[in-house]
Amino acid sequence: MTGRLRIAVHKFASCDGCQIQFLNLEQDLLTLASRAEIAHFAEASSVMQPGPYDVSFVEGSISTSADLQRIQEIRAASRLLITIGACATAGGLQALRNWKNHDEFVRAIYARSEYIDSLARSTPVSEHVKVDAELWGCPIDQQQLKRVLSDVLARIAPRIPGESVCLECKRAGHVCVLVAGDVPCLGPVTRTGCGALCPRYERDCYGCFGPQEDGNTRALGRRFREMGLSDADIVRRLRFINGWAPAFRAGAQVWEK
């Protein structure tokens, strides 16, 4: 295993925001390009080379039958597969359809529904193929992306912390909006990585980095209930960008009538 790594960035059902985080690395992107071959990156270049790849970053959820096929091909062509963002890692916002009738949506929105090839569920990459590492976030955090890239370039397993946002808040000296303001913050059950962006501005975390490694969404739901949120409010809080992630899915289920 010598020579430059071949890196690919693939897109599935997504808004491209995580790829944009890649592009916005600016100077660092040039450093990356000097140490690795960026073989496939649709958002960045029209030159798209086939695999095999040393590392494939995958953005977007699996949402169509063509996606089902393509993710298998990418997996087969990649030594490491790393998902980037809430869509690829948890199914994304578009997974809200997983609780609804997909066919009704299609008929209600599109004049000619026969042209629409989408699956009834939007699902994370890990439901289909083995994933080596997952970068959470909507979008992913650039500092975290850089850390993962330097690990990948050093050919060591990326370290992606799974603890709660609260540690980041307290290290940074942000006052807890939940305790000091009765704001229904999801930080205690949400994964760190964003730099505690919302609490920094005295806003509640809405869970865009997905569930922390082993939090207690049920207990936080009870706390929200005490604060006056309705059952439906709690379900809406958890069933959002990462609603299909197992811990948030289970946490919302508790309050569903």
Binding site: S150, D151, A154, I156, P158
Partner: protein, 283 residues
């Protein structure tokens, strides 16, 4: 910690060079290291059972026990299994490469308390590594210790490392090696079964000596309880424990085991010190 001259900053590694790299088995390798700085090299001493923190640039540090001869502290051997992100990185180092080293740390094997007594070493898998420096030490001072018996268990015969070393120990005076594998193989000459079963083959007089163990915690616990049934006292049974140390000097909290810091109060403990908590899951 014993009296070792150490820079005022206990967190700061020193550069060390890979002198030699030996493949021991699948994903198991030994790095022979030499401190770059002549003064540090001259001052470096370690006791059998102590460990170093090895640092791989950009990846981080990992605690690795010293497996070489304490009488030759200029060349420091570490046998490593590529199991985590840092050790996987260390696996790619070659002779001539440089890494960071801090140490030695911790309380090693009870070389003084064991004087004049027989030594029963019981190890599982890579657990044989931390006991090798003790064996070197005792063989260099053969008169100070009684009979030496090594009971070593592996999962598969192919997992056995240190073949040559073990051969040489078999030939040493008043020294016995009993090998066992969970599963047999055609060429395997040792026992087939758990390491506790090798105790059947041990001369009962040895249970009046000192036992030293290293291996997975459930194995060490099973062996220790077995030794107690054979009449050994908890204070005569020693075991080397392992946790994911970050600082190695009792500051970071990662290696806490009840009221003990494995990094500085251990890694070697008497069974009397740790028996109660070893029985509880989650400590």
């Amino acid at each position: 910690m014993n009296a070792v001259a150490w820079p005022p900053n206990p967190y700061l590694p020193q550069a060390a060079q890979v002198v030699e790299r030996v493949e021991e088995g699948r994903d198991i390798f030994t790095l022979r290291l030499r401190l770059r700085d002549a003064e540090a090299r001259a001052a470096y001493r370690f006791q059998p059972g102590q460990f170093n923190m090895l640092y791989l640039s950009g990846a981080g540090e990992v605690a690795i026990s010293i497996v070489s001869d304490p009488d030759d502290p200029q060349l420091i051997d570490h046998t490593i299994r590529a199991a985590g992100r840092v050790t996987q990185g260390l696996q790619r180092l070659k002779a001539g490469d440089t890494l960071g080293l801090r140490g030695p740390f911790g309380r090693g094997w009870p070389v003084e308390a064991a004087r004049g007594r027989s030594l029963l070493l019981i190890t599982g898998g890579l657990g044989c590594a931390p006991t090798t420096s003790m064996i070197h030490y005792a063989l260099q001072r053969r008169g100070l210790y009684g009979a030496i018996t090594l009971c070593h268990g592996v999962k598969h015969p192919a997992d056995l490392i240190y073949g040559e070393r073990i051969q040489s120990w078999c030939a040493a005076p008043d020294t016995q090696v009993l090998l066992t594998a969970d599963k047999g193989a055609p060429e395997w000459r040792g026992r087939v079964g758990q390491v506790t079963q090798t105790l059947e083959d041990v001369d009962p007089a040895l249970f009046k000596g000192v036992a030293m163990m290293c291996g997975p915690e459930p194995m060490m616990r099973a062996v220790a309880e077995n030794l107690l049934r054979r009449g050994m006292a908890p204070a005569d049974i020693y075991l080397s424990m392992e946790r994911n140390m970050h600082c190695a000097v009792g500051h970071c909290g990662h290696c806490m085991f009840g009221g003990k810091f494995i990094c500085k109060d251990g890694p070697v403990f008497s069974y009397a010190e740790v028996r109660a908590l070893l029985a509880v899951k989650g400590f």
